[in-house]
Symmetry: C2
Subunit: 101 residues, 2 copies
């Protein structure tokens, strides 16, 4: 895991704790360059499944679809509401955060 990302995660650990304490099922932060899990509240298998599907596969495809419809536009945020819970995906430059609530 990348050093910059590690610093950001450690610096925001208190905030992450406070926010995820209420109303969320958990979160996953993944590194965009390697696609690895950087921080998560889930077990490793679930976290890797979520990163594979949501962060790598979907976020990239949705970004392409949005740009293809309007080349001057770009993806900010993706919300996937399912019957059981909601995935909130925030793709940033170096990392992608997925929260499940």
């Amino acid at each position: 895991m990348n050093r910059v990302l590690e610093d950001v995660i450690n610096k925001n650990a208190a905030n992450t704790e406070r926010i995820t304490a209420e109303n969320t099922l958990g979160y996953v932060v993944s590194d965009n360059t390697s696609g690895n899990v950087a921080a998560t509240s889930f077990d490793n298998t679930s976290a890797q499944g979520i990163v594979k599907h949501m962060n790598i596969l979907l976020a990239g495809l949705v970004q392409s679809a949005v740009r293809d419809l309007d080349p001057s536009n770009s993806l900010c945020y993706l919300r996937v509401l399912t019957r059981k819970f909601e995935y909130l995906v925030a793709p940033e430059e170096l990392f992608t955060i997925t929260v499940i609530q």
Copy 2:
């Protein structure tokens, strides 16, 4: 276009008119079986682009990703927030509605 869908669209035309009059850029309704545009407030080329990307490509892929993560779960609603506007995609059994706001 399918007869049932045509009836639903005509029956709800007044509501559609009222809702889309405020705060929305437009909407597209597409038939799930054929993938054709059933009703829209956009011109034909834009509507077909939106249907192709959002309704056919993305809604199907997101549904698969959600089911793959948890086989007993299913997609209800998809929100894609972009820098310029937000796509709201509601996949139903026979048709898919996409609203842009």
